[in-house]
Symmetry: C2
Subunit: 367 residues, 2 copies
């Protein structure tokens, strides 16, 4: 929220309330609450339909919770982004009409899944479509962390002409990349890194998936990047920390991965290594990472996600570290990707409220 | 220079003067002036030799001009970086002993070549070794410009949690990259971009090089990136401006390329295109680029070089543009690259003062 935005915020709340009220008086059709304007290409899929009541948060900022709790009442479907917490409070406010929650994200840490199961509410999400955009950001942050982008850009911003030798960086033509979590985004990131001179890849991933299928997959990846990529192998977390020159955190969120990257892990890393987190903020202990950067256990970091976001203030320990390149969770924020995500989210929602098969449904009972 | 560095600057000047004086009294061997500390791996190549007098600017900042003019007197060789202007003033100060100028750079805009020719002084430079490091930075800046890195990092820095839809970006899975100047760094940049989804490449380069050899080279590049790269063709500057989604400026400096990218050129570019300059600051008109960003003729820019650097203050028109990602000329600033450049610069200098073949000499008479 902008610090000086309280008046415009109040006006927008009032406007939104009026819109909601008038549309409610007009109709008693299935109601869909949309927490972000999905743009001129996607919104018509909803608003042009006579058989739906659509209530939209129209502001170009995070949806107001109070507004949402009021407007969600009686909704059959909700289209949300990662900033909307879906918990008992929201679901109770919605009431028994709610059939589907459709999130414009691949992750679902903001959703209390057991609460959905209890109420028999379906969950749509948007996998795959954001792979390329997030892989792009992963490579960008790896380069930025290695080449001290934030620190050296700060020199320009302050109008100084001083370039110190210490601003040189660690990019090497022969190096090992590590992945904590090795799914589609990791594969796409690795593919982008090959022409930069990456020769070896190690990863640590979900121990529950079948070893045989992993082996087959790894052989295919090695073949795809032959002859540049010399090796690709699963390792334990200890080896991952010790051998990675660039470490990408792309593990899913949740309690099982919380603070996997902690002080103990960071102390094992190479002095010239960089850490990139574009997965989930919760996987990395922010205080430990700040300490690692301050005390130079590692060279630098590039992160698109932070535990506790979007509430990351000026005095956050990572914001204070010049060697920490921080983006405000824009990994999937490219025009094409957001368009694809928004389209899929609407399709999921529409299928969900009419009891049809959803293009991308998460099996909440199996989670 | 740091604003509060005047005292330490004075102390360092005094120290350097003493070092120079005592070494001059001690020896009458060939003198080499080195304008940047080349580090513990390279300096011994010079200082461990008994048959040389080495005078070094030891501070971790741009070499002081006054210090250089005093110490260069009687030198047989000078090792410099791009921040040292080699003109009649410096060469006159050096006097008739000077046999070689060795620059730790691939460009030589800071060197008045006719003055070298007139005095029969040889010129060493460091081509090739910085190709990979600069190609890395080129890709990094293209991604940063496309994904609004500077603007969105500013949001985090200010402690705001507001992510606007307008912060989404223009990366597209199918797009055309353009190169103004198509030498080794451009080829290395193109190779890195292929896995990002680049399908077509256009370029505009030196009209003096032979068309037949270009054709052969282009066929080899197309083959190398088959089947991802669909087309590669030379175009005129008008087409380059109109068709590039990402335009890389990698042309050499000098009067013939000055302000090739001016207001007229920028007005022809696509609204969602980004401009990357890692070549020479002089090729892009800074005022025109600032206007293009302010008035949204193009989406964003990423630059490692600015006309007039290193004197780029807080009030520079480009520093004020949030869509301009500016690095302080760190394109070649990686450990390995600087090591290779420093080694080559020393080898050039030593060969030059002893009248031998230099590993990388520029034929100043042919320029």
């Amino acid at each position: 929220m902008q610090p000086d935005g309280s008046i415009s915020q109040a006006v927008s709340l009032a406007k939104a309330r009026l819109t909601s009220l008038s549309s409610h008086l007009r109709t008693s059709k299935p109601k869909i609450v949309v927490c972000r304007d999905l743009g001129p290409d996607v919104m018509p899929l909803l608003v042009k339909r006579d058989d739906l009541e659509v209530v939209l948060w129209t502001e170009d900022c995070v949806c107001d919770r109070e507004w949402l709790l009021k407007n969600v009442q009686g909704a059959a479907g909700i289209v949300i982004v990662f900033s909307e917490l879906v918990n008992a409070e929201l679901l109770d406010a919605a009431g028994p009409n709610l059939k589907v929650v459709s999130t414009m994200s691949v992750g679902y840490e903001h959703i209390h899944v057991p609460e959905l199961v209890e109420r028999n509410i379906r969950l749509g999400y948007t996998p795959d479509v954001l792979t390329d955009a997030v892989a792009d950001i992963s490579v960008m942050l790896a380069l930025m962390a290695g080449r001290n982008a934030n620190e050296t850009m700060g020199i320009v911003r302050e109008g100084l002409s001083l370039i110190k030798v210490s601003h040189t960086s660690n990019i090497s033509p022969s190096r090992t990349v590590g992945f904590l979590g090795f799914g589609r985004i990791s594969h796409a990131t690795l593919a982008r890194l090959i022409p930069f001179g990456v020769t070896d890849c190690i990863y640590s991933s979900n121990p529950n998936s079948a070893t045989s299928s992993k082996k087959e997959r790894d052989e295919a990846i090695l073949k795809q990047h032959h002859p540049q990529l010399k090796s690709l192998r699963p390792v334990d977390k200890d080896t991952l920390a010790k051998e990675s020159d660039v470490l990408f955190v792309l593990a899913p969120g949740g309690p099982s991965t919380r603070h996997l990257v902690n002080e103990e892990f960071l102390r094992k890393m190479k002095k010239h290594s960089v850490l990139v987190n574009v997965g989930r903020g919760t996987v990395v202990d922010s205080d430990a990472l700040a300490k690692a950067l301050r005390e130079k256990w590692i060279w630098g970091a590039g992160i698109d996600v932070v535990e506790g976001e979007p509430h990351v203030g000026k005095d956050h320990p990572l914001v204070k570290e010049p060697r920490c390149n921080i983006l405000p969770h824009i990994g999937s924020a490219s025009f094409e990707t957001r368009l694809a995500m928004a389209t899929l989210a609407v399709e999921n929602c529409l299928a969900g409220i009419s009891g049809q098969e959803m293009p991308a449904e998460l099996d909440v009972k199996a989670l």
